[in-house]
């Protein structure tokens, strides 16, 4: 599973992307965020304001109950500020 981080979530975690292999019980985006937040203080800090963490799976916006699978591209980012 490929994870991508953008804007201040990237700054706080400290890397822009990584390959991860979460345990098999991590079947949703929400569970993935919980698992990530427990990986270290940088992750915990980046993900603590969970309500403002937007998620995309394979480049489409999804809700926390959306399933994640091996091979997915999952992106975490704050609310967008373009335009």
């Amino acid at each position: 599973m490929k994870l991508l981080y953008f804007a201040w979530i990237r700054s706080k975690i400290g890397i822009a992307e990584e390959e991860v292999a979460p345990p098999t019980e991590v079947t949703t985006v929400g569970a993935l965020l919980d698992w990530l937040a427990a990986r270290g203080p940088n992750y915990a800090e980046a993900l603590k304001a969970r309500a403002v963490v937007k998620t995309a799976v394979n480049q489409e916006y999804v809700d926390p109950d959306h399933p994640v699978h091996v091979g997915d591209e999952v992106a975490l980012f704050p609310p967008v500020t373009g335009g």
Partner: protein
């Protein structure tokens, strides 16, 4: 048409191309977003626009498709820049061409409102206190929300 690029764009040439050779176009509405100098002391020297390559194009194409579904448009264009920009620089251009004035005006407003809440771009301002990520505005959500409520409109059926 969608373009995501670092370079500036030529508004006159882009708008001319939208109706080129198509004499059924009666009007072209456009919106250009510029880098504002937000700091009261005029201290913002530059900003950097980050985006999510791949998803950006996908979202912009989806927004454009939705505009064509809602309004009778002859052509449309979204150009969004990324990278380092300074105050006064152009950031984004959206433009819509239609036989009908209201269709062009409404769809142009729709495109920029939706883009603001859906296209994965993030602004980082280089202020006097160092770089700072721009916070999303709730007014942008409200602006996009009003299009979620107003599916139907006059021109399409009129």
């Amino acid at each position: 048409m969608i373009r995501v690029q670092q370079e500036d764009f030529d508004i006159g040439a882009e708008l001319a191309r939208l109706s080129d050779g198509d004499h059924s176009v009666g009007g072209i509405a456009s919106f250009v977003g510029l880098v504002r100098d937000m700091a009261p002391d005029g201290a913002i020297g530059s900003m950097t626009l980050e985006h999510y390559p791949g998803m950006t194009e996908k979202q912009l194409a989806a927004i454009e498709t939705e505009a064509h579904r809602r309004w009778p448009l002859q052509a449309s264009l979204i150009i969004h820049r990324y990278g380092r920009l300074t105050p006064g620089d152009r950031i984004v251009l959206v433009a819509t061409a239609s036989a009908h004035r209201q269709a062009a005006l409404e769809s142009c407003a729709f495109l920029i409102d939706w883009l603001k809440t859906k296209a994965p771009f993030w602004k980082m301002e280089d202020g006097p206190g160092g770089p700072q990520w721009v916070e999303a505005k709730t007014t942008d959500d409200a602006a996009a929300e009003r299009w979620a409520r107003s599916e139907g409109h006059t021109e399409k059926h009129g």
